[in-house]
Point group: C2
Chain length 344, copies 2
Amino acid sequence: MGDAMTRPLLAVTLGDPSGIGPEVALKAVAEPEAQGLARYLLVGPEQIARAARDRFAPSLRLETVPSASQLRAETDVGLLSISAEPLEAFPTGQVSAASGRAAVVAVETAARLVLGGEARAIVTAPLHKEAMHLAGYRHPGHTEILGELCGKKATMLLSSPRLRVIHVSVHCSLREAIERVTPENVGAAIRMAQEAGSRLGYARPRIAVAGLNPHAGEGGMFGREDDEAIRPAVEEARAAGLEVSGPWPPDTVFLRASQGEFDVVVAMYHDQGHIPVKLFGLEGGVNVTLGLPLIRTSVDHGTAFDIAGRGVAQHESMLEAIRVAVRMVRSGAQPPPGSNPRYD
Amino acid sequence: MGDAMTRPLLAVTLGDPSGIGPEVALKAVAEPEAQGLARYLLVGPEQIARAARDRFAPSLRLETVPSASQLRAETDVGLLSISAEPLEAFPTGQVSAASGRAAVVAVETAARLVLGGEARAIVTAPLHKEAMHLAGYRHPGHTEILGELCGKKATMLLSSPRLRVIHVSVHCSLREAIERVTPENVGAAIRMAQEAGSRLGYARPRIAVAGLNPHAGEGGMFGREDDEAIRPAVEEARAAGLEVSGPWPPDTVFLRASQGEFDVVVAMYHDQGHIPVKLFGLEGGVNVTLGLPLIRTSVDHGTAFDIAGRGVAQHESMLEAIRVAVRMVRSGAQPPPGSNPRYD
């Protein structure tokens, strides 16, 4: 396909149609920088996409196509509709089963485009979990939907321009997260950090592993998991040749990484990694799904029902998600083991 | 004493003499801004104080006194020695029992000066826990030393110019921290946040309470503590008239507070609060001890043995600790119930 020279095609989902997803997606793909980086196929309800275009990107040409294969090479932004329902079917700023369903169908459709080789990466706008649940889905988020679709365990990388974080666990209680801190799980997260680093373009990523307990356990005074579960995994990975260190005190390792000392940090649970990345959120936080035979990036914010339809949503995170997806497409790093042979 | 007009006297400990404490203390009190804010009584080994003065603040006059009461009114910086041992007794950059002992004795001495009304606040440089343990002490840190000395349960406030955080628990394992998330403990932390806010000068502090689990439990899907332990405490405090809200998703509440939405955040465990405050660390993080009949602030960094004696330590945190102590002395807020009658 010669993507190193031409612009890759990205499948961009509109997220929950009741939230700010359609707004940030249209605003982002209409940016001159985004137009220069890639071509786009928006995936969502047609009426929602057209309403968002009319309001937030009125000069953008949007070509509806019945399938990705019918997108013309000269089209910058196409639209693959997954619902013919009218605008009123998707109440702005409200939880609804219709919006929950449309959001999930868009993700599944976009993922199949990438798995089938018709698009190079999927970039996603936010879902609303309650709406998904009303529609009968039980997935906590994108990562799990995509993992199920691909039959693989997906892992999420949180990325901001200053900090990249892999989690040992994400969507579970803190009690359950502690149980998941085992040498096996930490080792798997370290390997995932290695994959993330290389796919993001770091030749030999410097990986820092955070501790679980205050001060990484302070020699056993504040818990034993750091010494008994995390340290063995770090030592094994180092013996295998990875540039990895830890367990580091959790309260300073993210600061150190943000100052350039490490390329990727392995966090032990959801908020340990999410708190520091979100503090850099104004610079455009991004989620990247790893461990799957496709490239997927996403905004790191929610549907923001409270400001939906008001035109005030910031699209910096969506634009950064596009940048990261393009960087991954171009990095040339090998796809993970067992990936779909039609990928790249 | 008329401190609103004159400069209050602060007792400043030098911390572990083998670390960067003496350096940051001398650099900070020598700053013109610090000289304008307060007068100082350094508390630590005399030879250490004089060596640090000679090297890091050579133009500073340092008057050794046998007791605080003998400090002359016109002295800007006095020195109360707690050890006559030579410099060599305190090996630079190394853990030693001598340094651990000197550090603790300095804290106890300085605290008694404040409890006895001879100084208005204590500002502390960092301890080294292993050194303290070698010297036979079992306290995890300043907060516990001072709590024992005063016969009260002390609580730590982490403060930076952008963010102020109270913790439900600090120095314990994450497993133990979860057990401590009870309505009683969360309620006590909220009341402490109220005290902190008023002592820092907020007339009616806006208090945000963080959740424990990802997304504050997401309606019970990721754990029940948010709904069963935290929410009741928030509602009770609100019913009592406090301006308090939560439990909020932990990964965004600190960002929101740093943007000005809240004055004080109640964090559920050590790293939940320490990670965001340390990310702002370059602006000068400070620890404030609450719940005691004395004002105490501290740097939020450690002894940094790796750079001790090299002259490269930053003293912004120590300077900010001085600023916060002076603000608390001047705020005029009532000392906590049961405080020493000789206080203020």
